[in-house]
Point group: C2
Chain length 146, copies 2
DNA sequence: CCGTATCCATTCCGATACTG
DNA sequence: CAGTATCGGAATGGATACGG
């Protein structure tokens, strides 16, 4: 029996997870956001088998999160680039990064998030109401639309 | 061969995904944030088999994202409650919800996120630098800490 | 009501070898 | 470089039946 599909769920969280809620997709998008574009570079960075990388890249391009375009460097190859839809996953990745920094420790080497311009740590990720207020857990709810 | 464990990864995104990057965990946390506490209520809401729900709840309590406490209503049962660590996943869920609203459409009924007080749509999720600036994709990077 | 215990199908993932 | 082909092991997920 297959996994339950959530792409028809009313809840946008469930639908989002149906698209990018698997182990590798967000890591591929993370690399793409750093500037990775080539198959071999994803492969080296992620250490996954080429087999699965192929499948994931195909899914992500199918979802229009990545697109396959002629390589910018003039070689005969192609490269994977983030679309706007993919780039809009930025807050998802950043909130995951901040949560991981604080709540998923490791003894080994670790990195943390800084802003590129000043090198200072990122302060946080805020949920903003339409009037500009910062919303906390419990101050939002979901309402039925259609 | 097992899935590659990412709990020793330097990247906090990878470590975060190692903990909560599976299909069901974030949906359980979502329900918990709405106030769901009881096994049967999670079960009804998620429509998954009790088998797996048990496993996931155990993992989440093991990770201290949920905790099992005596039921508040005086019954002999227990209930699952979010810890602070669990509640701090709020920005992750919200950014997923906003992404899903815009990028994972459905023909069926759908919900969207509003702030509880005024019922207005949530504006967005912002990444905030230490000096208060709002950061966009490409304006952050990861640096090695330890 | 809140789970556990089995059983089974599917999917995921990794390793390796091979191709244009 | 960028995949494809094949294999096998592992984890996931569902159905069902059962127990405290």
């Amino acid at each position: 029996m297959r996994r339950k599909r959530l792409n028809k769920a009313a809840c946008p969280i469930a639908r989002a997870l149906d698209v990018i809620g698997d182990w590798w997709s967000l890591l591929i998008v993370r690399d793409a956001m750093r500037g990775t574009t080539r198959f071999s570079d994803f492969h080296k960075s992620l250490g996954m088998s080429k087999n699965i990388l192929t499948r994931r890249l195909r899914t992500l391009t199918g979802q229009k999160i990545l697109e396959l375009v002629p390589a910018a460097d003039g070689t005969a190859y192609q490269e994977y680039r983030l679309t706007d839809k993919g780039r809009s996953l930025y807050p998802v990745l950043m909130s995951l990064a901040l949560w991981g920094q604080d709540n998923a420790p490791t003894n080994g080497p670790k990195s943390h998030l800084v802003d590129r311009e000043h090198g200072q740590p990122v302060r946080g990720v805020n949920v903003i109401a339409s009037d500009g207020r910062i919303l906390k857990a419990g101050e939002t709810r979901m309402v039925r639309t259609g």
